[in-house]
C-alpha cells in the first residue's frame, strides 16, 4: 500500500504556514469502479513528478487518492498534459478524470483541505493484488515512399519477403514519440511508436514506391508486423516495457505469437501499450476486428486506428468501433480543406481532441495547423526536435 501522507505534510506545511498561494488537485481514484494496483499508482505519481519537478509533486494516499501540489509558477498546460497521461494510465476518458478532480486553492481552501485529509485518514485502506513479471516489445511500420519511384512488383516483393526472413529485424527497429503538445510547455510523451524503418531497408528496397500497389504493400506490412512481434519475443532484454505502440494486424492480435508477447507483459503496464490497426483490414472484416478488439481490451491494452485521412474520416465512428485513439495523417492540404469543409474539424471534435493523434508533423506548418484547431496529440520529426524545447515560439 502506498501512503505518502507524511511526505505530503512536509511538502505543504511551509505553504500553509506562510499562507503562500498554492494549488492542490485531488484525484479521487478511490471513487473509480476499477481496482488500482500499487505499481499503477506509483506510475501515475512518477509521471506527475516528472512533469512538475522541481516545484510540484504528487502523493498517493492510503485510499488510493492522489493529491498533486504545485505553485502558481507551473503552467496549467503542464497540468493538463500530465492529466492526459494519467487518464491513459487509468484507462478512462479525460472528461471522466475531470469528474473525479477536486481543486483546493491555498490559502483560500485551507480548511476544506484539512477536512478532506481527515476524511482520507479515517477511510479504509485499499488492498490490492500485486502484478507479476515484466516484459517489453517492439513494432513495425513503413514510412511514405517517394512518388517518382518504381512500382512494387510481385517479383520484388518476393525478394524482399525472402530477405526479411533471413534478417535480424532487431537492428532495424526505430521509434518515434506521440506527445501531448500544448502551448508554452515541453512536449510530454504519451507513448512511443516502435516500427521498422523503410529507409534502413533501402538495401533491399531500391528505389521502390510501396503505395502504388496497395495490396502488395499490405502484404509486406503484414510480414513486417509479424516479424517485429516475433523479434520482440526473441529479444527479451531491452527497454520496451511500457508506453509504446506496435503496429499489428487483426490476425496478428489473435495469433499464438501475440499470446507469447502478452504472457511477458506486466499486467498493470498493459494499459500503456497501444496496438495500431489498419482501417482497410478493420473495415474489411469487422467480425474478426470485434473479436480481436474485445480480446485486447479485456487484457487491458489500447487500440488505435491508424492512417486515417480526411477521405476516410467521415466513415469512422470511433465510439461504435470502440477504439481508444485515431491517427490522422498530416497532409499539407489540410489548412485549405479545413476552411472549405469545416465539418471535417467538427468530426474531429466529435471524436474528441484527446483521442486524435496527428502524425507526420515534420514541419512548423503541420504544428501550426494542429495548434490552430486544438489537436494536441502529435507525432513527427518536428515533435522529436521539440523534445526539450517549448513549441509555438513561431507565434
Amino acid at each position: 500500500m502506498l501512503n505518502h501522507a507524511s511526505a505530503f505534510d512536509d511538502f505543504v506545511t511551509p505553504f500553509l504556514k506562510k499562507e503562500l498561494p498554492f494549488t492542490i488537485v485531488q484525484l479521487k481514484i478511490s471513487t473509480l469502479p476499477d481496482e488500482c494496483t500499487d505499481s499503477l499508482l506509483s506510475m501515475i505519481v512518477r509521471s506527475f513528478n516528472e512533469s512538475l519537478k522541481p516545484h510540484g509533486k504528487a502523493f498517493c494516499f492510503k485510499n488510493n487518492d492522489i493529491l498533486i501540489g504545485y505553485p502558481p509558477k507551473i503552467k496549467e498546460n503542464i497540468i493538463q498534459a500530465a492529466m492526459f497521461k494519467a487518464s491513459m494510465y487509468l484507462s478512462i476518458d479525460t472528461s471522466e478524470l475531470e469528474n473525479i478532480q477536486q481543486r483546493f486553492d491555498i490559502p483560500f481552501d485551507k480548511e476544506l483541505l484539512k477536512l478532506e485529509l481527515g476524511r482520507i485518514e479515517n477511510s479504509k485502506q485499499v488492498v490490492f493484488k500485486q502484478p507479476v513479471e515484466r516484459k517489453r516489445v517492439v513494432q513495425s511500420v513503413i514510412e511514405d515512399p517517394d512518388k517518382d519511384k518504381d512500382e512494387l512488383t510481385p517479383a520484388l516483393l518476393a525478394r524482399i519477403t525472402k530477405a526479411l526472413r533471413n534478417t535480424d529485424l532487431a537492428a532495424m527497429i526505430r521509434n518515434q514519440r506521440v506527445c501531448v503538445v500544448l502551448e508554452g510547455i515541453i512536449p510530454k510523451k504519451v507513448y512511443e511508436e516502435v516500427y521498422l524503418s523503410v529507409q534502413d531497408m533501402s538495401r533491399i528496397l531500391p528505389n521502390v514506391s510501396l503505395t502504388k500497389t496497395p495490396w502488395l504493400f499490405m502484404d509486406l506490412s503484414t510480414t513486417l508486423d509479424e516479424g517485429v512481434l516475433k523479434t520482440v519475443s526473441r529479444h527479451r532484454e531491452g527497454a520496451f516495457m511500457r508506453d509504446f505502440a506496435l503496429n499489428l494486424t487483426v490476425k496478428g492480435l489473435l495469433s499464438e505469437d501475440f499470446k507469447t508477447f502478452d504472457r511477458g507483459m506486466r499486467p498493470d503496464l498493459k494499459r500503456t501499450v497501444v496496438f495500431e490497426l489498419q482501417p482497410v483490414e478493420v473495415f474489411g472484416d469487422l467480425a474478426s476486428y470485434e473479436k480481436a478488439r474485445n480480446y485486447v481490451h479485456d487484457l487491458g491494452y489500447k487500440i488505435c486506428l491508424d492512417k486515417i485521412n480526411f477521405d476516410t474520416l467521415p466513415f469512422v465512428d470511433r465510439e461504435k468501433l470502440g477504439i481508444d485513439f485515431l491517427k490522422l495523417e498530416w497532409n499539407p492540404n489540410f489548412p485549405e480543406q479545413a476552411i472549405e469543409n469545416p465539418e471535417l474539424i467538427d468530426m474531429l471534435k466529435e471524436i474528441g481532441m484527446n483521442r486524435v493523434i496527428m502524425y507526420g508533423v515534420d514541419d512548423i506548418a503541420a504544428l501550426a495547423f494542429a495548434h490552430q484547431y486544438g489537436i494536441s496529440l502529435l507525432q513527427g520529426k518536428h515533435i522529436q526536435k521539440l523534445k526539450t524545447s517549448i513549441p509555438f515560439n513561431y507565434r
Partner: protein, 426 residues
C-alpha cells in the same frame, strides 16, 4: 504400438488381440458424428468419454477416438445395467438432439464379441478404410499458402486460360405481394475451377491481400468477355470488381458496348472502399451518370453494428444471412442496426431456407439471393419450358453461359429469360 498409431488402426489391432478369447467382451460404438455440430465438440465428446471411463472402471475399458469423432470402447464383463446407465447419461446430456432417438442407425450401439465378432471386425475394417480415404484427401488438400513468388506465374495463367469455362451466375430476385421479379444476374468465377486452372497446388485464398492483387487481373479478364455476358442477359448484370477497375479502359469498353436497356451493378468490397474512399465516391458518380448502380458486397451482421451505411450511400447492400448460432440478442441487434437503412437497398444473400427468407420478409427486405432462390428460379424456368429435363440438369445449365453442360439444353433462350411471374391472389 506407438502413440502415432491412429485410433482406427489401434482398434482393429485390439480386436485381433482378443479374437481368441472373446468371452465376456463387448464393444460399444458411439456415433457422435451423427449429432448436431454443437453437440460433438471435442470438449463434449471428451466429457462423455470421461464419464464413461468412470462408469466402466471395473471393466478394463479401452477407448478409441476416431478422426470422424466416433468412439469405440472395448470392455469386459459389463453389466447390462451399466450400459443402461450409460445410455441414460447420453440422453440426459443431449436431450434436444433428435439423432439420439434414431433407432435405425443408433448413436449408442452395443455388440457382444462372443456372438458378433465378425460383424464388429467388418465394421472396424470399414473404419480403417474410411480413415485412409480421409487421410489421402487431407494430404491432397495441403496446398502451399499463396506467397509473392507465386504471383507472376499465376498472372500468366490468368491471362492464358479460357475464363468462359469458369463463369457461373446466380440470379437475385425481388419478392413482392404481386409476384417475383429477377433484379440481376451476378456473374462470377467458380473458385474451385479457377484454382484448378490458375494454381492447382497453391491455396490462392490463403492470403487476402495477394489474392486481391490477383483479382485486378481477373477483373480485366471478366470484362473482356462482355459480348458473351451481354448475349445471355436480358435485364441487368452484376460483377464483383475492384474499385480501381472501374477507372480502366477495359471497363469503359464494357460499358460502351453494353446493349441499351441492360443495367449494370458493380459489387465492391468494404476493404477496397476504405483503401481509397475518394475513388469509391468517384466510381459511384461515374456509374450513376451512366445510369448504373453500386453495391457494397457481403456485409456480415456484425458489420451493420459498426458502419454508418448511409454515409457510403450505395444503391444496394448485400447482407450475408446470419449463420447458424446467432443468439436472440444478436438478432435483435441486427434488426436495430438495419432500422436506419432504406430496406429497399438490402439484398439478403445466402438465402438457403425458409427461415432466412421469412426473416428477410418480416424485416422489410424484399431482395434475395442464394440456393433457395436458385431453386425457385429453376422451378419457374422449368414450368415455362416444354422440355421436361431433370431439375438438377436444368439448374446446372442455367448457372452457366458456355460449355458442354449448357449446350445440353435444347431450349437455351429459356435459361436466359428474366424471371418474372405473378402470384395469383387468393
Amino acid at each position: 504400438m506407438d502413440n502415432n498409431t491412429p485410433a482406427e488402426k489401434a482398434f482393429l489391432t485390439a480386436l485381433e488381440n482378443v479374437q481368441s478369447l472373446t468371452q465376456g467382451y463387448s464393444v460399444l460404438f458411439l456415433r457422435f458424428s451423427a449429432l448436431r455440430e454443437e453437440n460433438r465438440t471435442i470438449e463434449k465428446v471428451r466429457r462423455v468419454c470421461n464419464q464413461y471411463r468412470q462408469m466402466l472402471d471395473a471393466c478394463s475399458p479401452q477407448f478409441f477416438e476416431f478422426i470422424n469423432q466416433n468412439v469405440a470402447i472395448i470392455a469386459k464383463r459389463v453389466r447390462p445395467s451399466t450400459f443402461e446407465g450409460m445410455m441414460t447419461y447420453l440422453i440426459n446430456t443431449y436431450p434436444n438432439d433428435r439423432e439420439i432417438y434414431n433407432t435405425k442407425t443408433p448413436v449408442f450401439k452395443v455388440y457382444s464379441l462372443d456372438t458378433e465378432f465378425n460383424k464388429v471386425y467388418k465394421i472396424a475394417q470399414d473404419v480403417v478404410q474410411e480413415w485412409e480415404k480421409k487421410k489421402s484427401t487431407i494430404v491432397q488438400k495441403q496446398d502451399v499458402p499463396l506467397a509473392p513468388e507465386h504471383l507472376d506465374n499465376i498472372l500468366i495463367n490468368i491471362k492464358g486460360f479460357n475464363i468462359l469455362r469458369l463463369i457461373r451466375r446466380q440470379e437475385a430476385l425481388r419478392i413482392s405481394a404481386s409476384g417475383f421479379e429477377g433484379i440481376f444476374f451476378e456473374y462470377f468465377t467458380s473458385m474451385g475451377d479457377l484454382k484448378k486452372a490458375i494454381a492447382p497446388d497453391v491455396n490462392v485464398l490463403s492470403n487476402q491481400w495477394l489474392f486481391q492483387y490477383l483479382s485486378r487481373t481477373l477483373d480485366i479478364r471478366m470484362l473482356s468477355i462482355f459480348s458473351d455476358i451481354f448475349a445471355h442477359t436480358k435485364k441487368a448484370i452484376s460483377l464483383n470488381l475492384n474499385i480501381e477497375t472501374l477507372f480502366t479502359k477495359e471497363f469503359d469498353d464494357f460499358l460502351s458496348n453494353m446493349p441499351e436497356g441492360i443495367k449494370f451493378v458493380a459489387e465492391v468490397q468494404m476493404a477496397d472502399i476504405m483503401q481509397n474512399p475518394r475513388n469509391y465516391m468517384e466510381a459511384k458518380d461515374l456509374l450513376h451518370e451512366a445510369g448504373h448502380q453500386i453495391l457494397i458486397d457481403s456485409l456480415t451482421p456484425v458489420a451493420f453494428n459498426y458502419l454508418n451505411l448511409n454515409t457510403y450511400d450505395p444503391d444496394l447492400i448485400k447482407l450475408l444471412w446470419p449463420f447458424k448460432g446467432m443468439s436472440e440478442k444478436e438478432m435483435v441487434q441486427l434488426q436495430q442496426a438495419i432500422e436506419p437503412i432504406d430496406k429497399s437497398k438490402i439484398v439478403l444473400m445466402r438465402v438457403e431456407n425458409e427461415d432466412s427468407l421469412g426473416w428477410g420478409l418480416m424485416n422489410g427486405i424484399d431482395k434475395f439471393q442464394g440456393y433457395m432462390i436458385d431453386n425457385l428460379s429453376n422451378t419457374i424456368c422449368q414450368k415455362k419450358c416444354t422440355l421436361k429435363c431433370p431439375k438438377k440438369d436444368c439448374a446446372d445449365r442455367k448457372g452457366r453461359i458456355w460449355g458442354k453442360i449448357r449446350d445440353a439444353c435444347k431450349n437455351q433462350s429459356r435459361l436466359d429469360a428474366p424471371f418474372e411471374t405473378n402470384i395469383k391472389r387468393s
